[in-house]
């Protein structure tokens, strides 16, 4: 089995890349909700103290301030945890950012289950479902540090609201330095013929690990990485479904309305295909070490492989 090298934590990439962007782009500012020492907005603050805007523990105001900054031609990047960027200020995001298409970059980290042993208050599993339902909002989950850097650079240049879910901890590196992120483009990261696995964000590395385990057992998995959950690359999903006729989505989040929902909607309309969804099955979450949680909720490479085998065995 090939082992993947570890990337840098995406939150670190956030601090460094946005600071680097601000060197050349005077429009770039960071708006923080008192967690800069966690999201690594502190790296940005050191480089650009006058463009690091501390808003305190007041997320509704923070998102509203970002909307106002955007109307003045600035490009605000939001620094907070995914749990506090998506739900608490959702009405502000809806009314002030999504609907008027404000040029705000909602770029929280601590996404998914891997939040550093925090528990239910800090783990939000329905961010994809919520954010992709908002008009004008692009929803992007980079796979690793390489792609996180690319996505943040793309977000600064893109005009319009963007949601980027970043991770807290280092995950295996999926892409090399020649990788080129494009909005709305899904990528085949492994060719196969028996079953199509579709995943997003940091889960893609573990889905690849599952594919490796499955290969050892004679199952050839085709793996599609969907960084952009919205706009969705329907052509690539239809093609990947056509490759094997069996689709299983895998995501570090709820299966209700997330990537699995998006894929099922697209295939339902464009190429009716049976879709199974691996992810949180409408369950409650808890704290624990990353690996333990990924195992409990069925998202480690081994657990994904086991579920895929079971689904295929059911026929």
């Amino acid at each position: 089995m090939t082992t993947m090298t570890m990337g840098r934590p995406q939150r670190e990439v956030f601090g460094e890349t946005v600071a680097a962007l601000a060197n050349d782009d005077p429009r770039v500012v960071v708006v923080d909700g008192d967690v800069g020492s966690s999201t690594r907005a502190d790296i940005f603050e050191k480089a650009h103290p006058d463009r690091y805007l501390q808003m305190g523990i007041a997320e509704q105001n923070m998102l509203g301030v970002a909307a106002g900054l955007a109307t003045m031609g600035l490009v605000p990047f939001i620094s907070t945890f995914v749990a506090f960027a998506v739900v608490r200020p959702l009405d502000q995001v809806r009314v002030l950012i999504a609907q008027p298409s404000a040029n705000v970059k909602i770029t929280p980290s601590y996404g998914g289950l891997s939040t550093g042993q925090t528990g239910m208050s800090h783990i939000i599993v329905d961010d994809i479902a919520i954010m992709r339902s908002l008009p004008n909002m692009a929803v992007v989950l980079p796979a690793d540090d390489t792609e996180a850097d690319e996505v943040l650079r793309w977000a600064a240049a893109h005009v319009g609201p963007v949601y980027v879910r970043l991770g807290r901890d280092a995950t295996p590196r999926v892409f090399g330095p020649d990788h080129a992120f494009r909005l709305g483009r899904a990528e085949v990261v492994r060719e196969g013929s028996d079953v199509t696995l579709i995943s997003t964000g940091g889960q893609t590395a573990r889905t690849l690990e599952a594919a490796e385990l499955l290969a050892a057992q004679g199952i050839s998995a085709h793996v599609l990485h969907v960084a952009t959950v919205k706009p969705l690359d329907i052509d690539a999903i239809v093609a990947a479904a056509g490759r094997t006729g069996r689709v299983i989505t895998v995501e570090e989040g709820t299966v209700i309305g997330g990537l699995g929902g998006a894929v099922a909607e697209a295939l339902g309309e464009h190429r009716p295909t049976r879709v199974h969804r691996i992810g949180l099955q409408d369950v409650d979450v808890q704290s624990g070490p990353n690996d333990a949680l990924l195992d409990i909720y069925g998202l480690s490479g081994a657990r994904v492989a086991e579920q895929v085998r079971r689904i295929l065995a059911q026929g």
Partner: protein, 302 residues
């Protein structure tokens, strides 16, 4: 603060604009058979002073980059803002009759994507002050001499977000930010109280002034129907001292229409023809019943 009543053509002009805003509010809501009344009427003098005196705006160039910004955070009073904008020349008075209709630029609550000249979309109460703070910060960061005005309702000040912004703005010394609270002591329904129809907003006298003061704002407390006091407050707010300014403007909800004043249930309500005639008389317009030429025929216009 008491105003001099000596004749002053500019003040008279502003008072006339406030009267005409009220007339257009009544006319538009009568036609639309929907819309808010109490809030737009209480804010009319403040809106007239903003659009005909204080705001640096260009009606013919609504997206002018260096314009002052205005956010009507109490977005349900949109018709008052639209009337002020129409009178100022952003669009025609006839367009006011499309208010609240499908595909109108004059949406029930302000939608900045539809009408040039609106600086922010509002309607979900509590948000405008945050966006205004972002604009004031943005003006500072981009080195632009832009001032930002935000109008809140006193009921709206029950939203937690207002106080999040109130906490944060003084930390950035945003003296280019001016908040105006239309302090009419009523809201949509409110609490049992001593108003003429038995309801009220819950603050004790002076409570709002004390709160904003405690949050580090420069507080100017005025009679929001006295034009000279309003201009005086704007002038003081403009002489920045490093603090954001808040103008607590004591007003009467429904101001100018006898049977609406101080009554919570005129917050939003359709107007009957006989009420329309009375409102127009109260506002010094020809009685539509007595003067058929002045009567507007809603169906014909829409």
């Amino acid at each position: 603060m008491s105003a001099s009543v000596a004749a002053d053509p500019h003040l008279d002009h502003l008072r006339e604009m406030a009267r005409r805003i009220r007339v257009e509010v009544i006319r538009s809501v009568y036609h639309a058979k929907a819309g808010h009344l109490g809030g737009p009427l209480s804010a009319a003098d403040l809106l007239a002073a903003l659009y005909f005196h204080e705001l640096r705006v260009r009606p013919e160039e609504p997206r002018w980059e260096d314009r002052d910004r205005f956010i009507l955070s109490k977005g349900h009073s949109s018709i008052g803002l639209y009337a002020a904008m129409a009178l100022r020349g952003f669009f025609t008075l006839e367009e006011l009759l499309t208010f609240d209709g499908a595909n109108s630029r004059l949406q029930g609550h302000p939608d900045m994507t539809r009408l040039p000249g609106l600086d922010m979309s509002t309607g979900s109460l509590g948000m405008g002050i945050s966006a205004g703070m972002g604009m004031a910060l943005g003006a500072r960061l981009t080195g632009r001499d832009v001032r930002v005005f935000v109008m809140l309702g006193d009921g709206e000040c029950q939203e937690g977000e207002v106080w999040e912004a109130a906490m944060a703005a003084p930390r950035y010394r945003l003296d280019n930010l001016v908040v105006i609270v239309d302090h009419n002591r009523l809201q949509q329904y409110g609490w049992p109280g001593d108003g003429p129809d038995g309801r009220m907003a819950p603050q004790a006298p002076g409570e709002l002034v004390a709160k904003w003061h405690a949050f580090g704002w420069r507080v100017l407390h005025i009679d929001g129907h006295d034009m000279a006091s309003i201009l005086d407050a704007f002038e003081q707010a403009a002489a920045g001292d490093g603090r954001p300014a808040v103008i607590i403007a004591d007003t009467v909800k429904g101001k100018g229409v006898s049977f609406m004043e101080g009554r919570y249930f005129w917050h939003t309500r359709a107007i009957k023809p006989e009420e329309y005639a009375q409102a127009m008389r109260d506002l010094g317009e020809p009685d539509p019943a007595a003067d058929p030429q002045a009567a507007v025929a809603p169906e014909a216009v829409r």
